[in-house]
Amino acid sequence: MSKLGCSSRLMVILVIVILALFLTSFVMGPLGSKLFNIDVPRELQISKLHVALPSEAMFHVGGFKITNTLISSWVTIILLCSLFFFATRKMKVIPGRLQSFAEVVVDGIHNTIEGVAGPKHVRTFLPIVTTIFLYVVTNALLALVPLWGTWGPVEHITEGSHSYTVTVPFLRAANTDINLTLSIALVSFLFIEYLGFSRIGPFKYLDSFFQFSSLGKSFADLFKGNWKSFLSGFLFGFINIYVGLLEILSHFIRIVSFTFRLFGNMTAGEILLGVMTFLVAFIAPVPFYGLETLVGFLQAMIFAGLTLVFGVMAVTSHHEEGAEHN
């Protein structure tokens, strides 16, 4: 029985306690009490599920709203800054615990970027991709910490005939604020476009959208008196410009896509956890916490990974790609 890590009697007691907790919370919860027609005592009744989509303002600083998601994101920033400050303060050749943790994180991301972007561009992408990944993943994982999103002043709201209580949390999952995801998406977008303009030159970068060179070639044909190839080149040049406009539009749609992907996933996760806790208060939400841990990690990876992939697409222009293939 040594495999269990405790004596078998303790194991049995634990299982019984967990089962009892689960069953009582199921029967006393809104699902069980409806199903079995039980009158739940008033102290045990769970108030109606309340979902607040915009974040609540905690206090004001000179007309500027300080929302609970903003406070939550400050906590993330302080946590990450202090972690990496203390990890890199006294660096040694043989790292201590904190330093080796930081090394594992940064080295892992470094290797992933090297696999996608190649050794030439690693240093370009490492800072911003690592920052986005760590910020999003810390925001997502901190939201699963107990008291996060539940601890705060209770407000009684009376709406018509029925009244209910609403908790306004001091700390709320930062990723469930659309302003935060929009700002990260804007940073990512500006970074990608800046890379495109600075690394391969503004004219070459725009040319990778519109392919003006084919239009120019057709005019050269016109002066040579080659009417047929001028007409076809002229036509294809205009089609290329139209395609380029669509491609520029798709770059702007990336912002929307980035924003709503993260916001939607995180908000859906919060609502899922809320609903599960509302239906069965104990034990049943645990697997969903596991799922949310995975989703938070995956979404951070997707946000950072898509920034990386789009950035790589921007620094390797279409002509270079063609040259590689030929």
Partner: protein, 76 residues
Amino acid sequence: MDAETMKMLGAGLAAGLGMLGPGIGLGLIGLGAMQALGRNPEARGVLLTNMILIGALTEAVGIYALIVAILLAMVV
């Protein structure tokens, strides 16, 4: 039917029908990835990264439907 009922019906339909397309898409991505993995097991790492990336792009479409549903049900 009053306005509230229609709104709730719209929210349910938006979520349900909106998830239909991404669901099929994710299934196709999984199918393609598994087939590729079966033919070429060494390419696991590359396949996984690409699969997750395209899965994220597909999933975003479903998330739009979810946002519409949440907006209909709770905000508007």
